[in-house]
């Protein structure tokens, strides 16, 4: 898929032959009512949300109808994404033939949710390659495959599997700015990782979006830019669910956009927006980090043994600052699979001359044994005082509070107020983020992308007669094939009843947190909702 050229000129698809995905997109949007007109492209100059665009084009829709359509679209998108993900690993070869096949019949206008979903999907991915495959079997293969995928979903986390992560840029709508596409990739593979970093990167990317944005005719910047940004946001959230900080920043930005006087000339509005973003980053993150590091570094004393978990940028800043202030202390970094974020923290600290000890989650007890303080970074602070952070943080905080010696050590969280949220969390299950379970496979094995694909790729070839019969033996060859050479898990996708769970976060109960250091001061965790209100009301 080529990247959509310029998101600024989104809807006026003046290009005669829009690339397949776009067409598919619009087609499905129409599909509930007017599937047959799939080939006519929406040439409406309005650039509102596509839903309203084609709604206006076909016929005026009642709000209820609109809603219904939106729902259908959403369902369709879901399905598409799910299928995409399934095939995604295999560069989406597998599902496509099936859906490509599906895509042909849907001219019957009866199909709704499911129909458009597949219709949309078919042309999107390379249909010409295998689209001509037999129809029915592939469909059922798909269903079975989906069932199989469902089997891989841990039941109690079922609600979190909703949004499948995107694997490639393929299928991005043309509204998505290239800066966002790039950012999406970086978020996807954790190149940009960490709440603050994601927030800053998003804001900077938005700045570029805004700079290249041109208000289309007949609408005002304040009205239209928000929807334009929504496309970017939707795209980003398919790459990786948005962090709380990203959400907060986006909310603030949208609020600011909405507050722009429509009569302001576009150029100056854009300038003021960019300035707003710059100052937002400066105030909420850059300077806030300095303030936090400053006051957290004061908590470090000579002779301290400081335990930290994974790699938090703000903790790093704090420790480096304390080190530069001439304090002598030891740092014990606890790290975890699969991201090993602590490694880079250990490297950075050690290079600056700190005394660093490195161990993994299994050694928490040993690391905490002679610790004097625990410094933790945060992904978010919930309104009930919980610390929502990289999975494993809770174990560290708990160990600090329940040491063998009976002496509790202070647990200090460094967190910008931009990460505060009004959500509450009692456990780590309701709210969480599921990452790709393949990340859990041992690193030196050619990860499932390779391992599972042969299995998936096996599916399309034998579509001849027996579908069910073929399905079962298909996974077998890879089983034997990989067992000898790869990790025993390499083939987990085809091992029934075996599930891998890779959650990203956990919630540390408020009672394990002694202090939250923010740019507004040092607080107990119970003060989070108050500060959050203060900050958001400003």
């Amino acid at each position: 898929m080529t990247e959509p050229s310029d998101p600024a000129q989104t809807a006026p698809v003046s290009t005669p032959a829009p690339s397949a995905p776009e067409q598919a997109q619009t087609a499905t949007e129409n599909s509930p009512q007017t599937l047959p007109i799939r080939n006519s492209k929406p040439t409406q100059p309005t650039e509102d949300a596509p839903a309203s665009t084609d709604g206006a084009k076909d016929k005026p829709l009642s709000p209820a109808e609109l809603k219904k359509k939106a729902k259908a679209e959403k369902a369709a998108r879901r399905i598409r994404e799910k299928l995409d993900k399934e095939g995604g690993a295999a560069s989406s070869t597998t599902p496509n033939p099936g859906v490509g096949a599906h895509a042909r019949p849907p001219t019957t206008p009866k199909k709704d949710a499911a129909g458009p979903g597949s219709a949309q999907k078919g042309p999107r991915a390379p249909p010409p390659r295998r689209g001509s495959g037999p129809l029915a079997q592939n469909g059922s293969v798909l269903v079975e495959q989906k069932k199989k995928k469902d089997d891989k979903k841990v039941a109690i986390f079922g609600h979190l599997y909703g949004q499948q992560r995107r694997v490639t840029v393929a299928g991005a709508t043309k509204e998505v700015h290239h800066a966002i596409l790039a950012l999406g990739m970086q978020l996807m593979d954790y190149t940009i990782c960490g709440s603050s970093a994601r927030c800053v990167a998003t804001l900077i990317a938005f700045k570029r979006v805004i700079e290249s944005y041109m208000t289309p005719l007949g609408t005002s910047l304040a009205r239209h830019l928000t929807t334009h940004l929504s496309h970017q946001i939707t795209y980003l959230s398919t790459c990786r669910p948005l962090s709380i900080s990203q959400g907060n920043a986006i909310r603030a930005l949208k609020l600011f956009i909405a507050g722009i006087d429509p009569s302001t000339p576009e150029a100056s509005a854009k300038i003021s927006l960019c300035e707003y973003i710059d100052s937002f980053i400066r105030e909420k993150i850059t300077v806030a980090d300095q303030v936090i590091a400053d006051s957290a570094a004061q908590k470090v004393q000579d002779g301290d043994v400081i335990v930290t978990f994974a790699g938090s940028s703000i903790v790093k800043q704090t420790l480096l600052l304390a080190h530069n202030q001439g304090k002598r202390f030891r740092v014990s970094i606890i790290d975890s699979r699969p991201l090993f974020e602590g490694k880079s923290l250990a490297r950075d600290l050690a290079k600056c001359g700190l005394d660093v000890q490195y161990s993994l989650v299994h050694a928490i007890t040993h690391a905490v044994k002679d610790a004097t303080k625990v410094f933790l970074g945060a992904h978010a602070m919930t309104s009930n005082g919980g610390l929502y952070s990289r999975v494993g943080t809770a174990l560290v905080a708990m160990s600090a509070k329940e040491r063998a010696s009976g002496v509790e050590i202070p647990v200090i969280v460094c967190c910008e107020t931009i990460k505060f949220t009004d959500r509450v969390a009692l456990d780590s299950i309701v709210v969480n983020e599921i990452a790709d379970a393949n990340e859990l496979l041992p690193m030196n094995t050619p990860v499932s992308l390779v391992a599972s694909d042969p299995a998936d790729a096996y599916v399309p070839p034998p579509p001849e007669n027996k579908k069910g019969a073929n399905r079962t033996p298909a996974p077998e060859p890879p089983v034997t094939l990989h067992k000898s050479t790869l990790s025993p898990l390499a083939n987990w996708h085809n091992t029934p009843h075996l599930q891998l769970l890779n959650i990203m976060y956990d919630v540390t109960p408020a009672e394990y947190v002694d202090m939250v250091i923010t740019e507004m001061g040092s607080l107990p965790p119970s003060a989070v909702p108050i500060v959050h209100r203060m900050v958001t009301n400003l």
Partner: protein, 432 residues
């Protein structure tokens, strides 16, 4: 030794070597295996020790129990010195010593009873301590006294094998099998050695069956639709769960115990476990997933997050201490603590042979540190130079974090373990 070179060093190679080589070579072999940690798992160590002691005793051409004791003690000391943290070695040595002492006392008692000499103070101290409690038994049938004192340590394990009711282990039930085994009045000096060898055979049998015996309790502890969390690839736990899986449906959450045991855990979970040396004797076990049990593999870090949904934590262990605490794979303590915080019961499954009469005072001395390159591979050379990497292999888990122990003789509260210790080891052998 040359024969052992053919195999990878381990239990298998040792047992082979034991058959062909002179006894002293075998002792040296085991010592070096222990030192090099080429024989690791508790059960492998215990089995190797038991076989070695059997050879030692059969090679020892004496019927004098004192000499036997001395010999076993000296071998035992060397083994223990080779790997002090492998506590099962000491446990097995103590069990064997106890056997010899019991046999010796049987003989002596028999003699006393026959000659009607009531000199209670003459025999070894524990008997004197025991005797005043049962003066009536003392003079009646000649067999009685040895039932009282020697049965619990000697035969309790054996009689359990045949009918595993926990009560049988209690010293108060001199089982029906008491008179037949050894005819005390009969040629007293002749078969101390034979009896001891037989006893060691029973210990070896016990080691072979212990997991199945423990598994027999599984249905008492696992109900339907339970969510069970476990850790490491312990065979005892796997068998326990497998046994329950034949009758009930539940979900297992398996923490992968990275970096020391994750490969074995992955293999266990996915059912591609290749028999390591300690399992050589066992039939291939079907993995849980083939019984339709959903197994969820999680990284260790996710334990706290998921603990709120877990009904029960079932842990294997490296060794159990007399105070009810245990030494288990690193990470166990955090899991047990997280379970405590969530009010989730923690069940430890362990054979009695892992129960050590050691009272821990210096916890750090119990912990063994492993290969740091598993934590930070040497590919990261620059980092390895700069940071201090730690890879503890064991955790000490205090007794208050454990709710229940299940051994091959039943379920016990941690506070009861001292009693089992005193049933299984003679006081004079605790520090030999």
């Amino acid at each position: 030794m040359p024969s052992s070179l053919a195999l990878t060093p381990g239990l298998g190679s040792f047992l082979k070597c034991l058959k062909t080589n002179p006894i002293d070579t075998s002792i040296e072999t085991l010592i070096s295996l222990l030192k090099r940690r080429q024989i690791r798992h508790s059960r492998s160590c215990a089995t190797a020790t038991a076989y070695l002691l059997r050879s030692v005793i059969s090679a020892c051409r004496t019927t004098d129990s004192a000499k036997l004791i001395e010999r076993v003690q000296s071998v035992g000391r060397r083994l223990m010195a080779a790997q002090p943290r492998e506590m099962v070695v000491g446990n097995i040595v103590r069990r064997v010593l106890g056997l010899i002492r019991d046999e010796a006392e049987d003989d002596r008692d028999a003699e006393f009873a026959l000659s009607e000499i009531g000199s209670e103070s003459q025999p070894q101290t524990p008997r004197a301590y025991d005797d005043p409690a049962l003066p009536l038994d003392r003079d009646s049938p000649s067999i009685r006294p040895d039932d009282r004192s020697s049965r619990p340590p000697l035969t309790s394990m054996f009689s359990l094998l045949s009918h595993p009711e926990p009560e049988n282990s209690l010293p108060s039930t001199p089982g029906s099998s008491s008179p037949n085994g050894r005819l005390p009045g009969h040629g007293p000096s002749k078969d101390v050695r034979a009896e001891v060898l037989e006893g060691i055979g029973e210990i070896i049998d016990e080691l072979g069956q212990v997991d199945d015996q423990i598994a027999a309790y599984a249905l008492d502890h696992i109900h339907s639709n339970e969510i069970i969390l476990t850790h490491t690839s312990s065979t005892t736990v796997q068998k326990f769960l497998l046994k329950a899986a034949t009758k009930r449906k539940f979900t297992v959450i398996h923490a992968e115990s990275y970096p020391n045991n994750h490969e074995a855990t992955h293999a266990t979970v996915s059912g591609s476990a290749s028999d390591d040396d300690n399992l050589g004797l066992e039939a291939f076990q079907k993995p849980l997933i083939e019984h339709g049990i959903t197994v969820i593999l999680i990284p260790d870090s996710a334990v706290f997050a998921i603990m709120s949904r877990v009904n029960k934590v079932i842990l294997g262990t490296h060794s159990v201490l007399a105070n009810g605490g245990l030494v288990a794979a690193a990470g166990t303590r955090v899991i047990a603590r997280a379970a405590k915080v969530h009010q989730t019961p923690v069940v430890v499954v362990s054979g009695v042979y892992k129960l050590s009469p050691v009272y821990p005072f210096d916890f750090d001395s119990l912990i063994e540190y492993g290969d740091p390159s598993k934590v930070l591979p040497y590919e990261e050379g620059d980092l390895v130079d700069l940071v201090d990497v730690q890879n503890p292999i064991y955790d000490y888990v205090p007794a208050e974090l454990v709710d229940l122990y299940i051994t091959n003789i039943g379920g016990h509260a941690p506070s009861y373990l001292y009693r089992i210790v005193s049933d299984h080891y003679r006081k004079e052998d605790i520090s030999f």
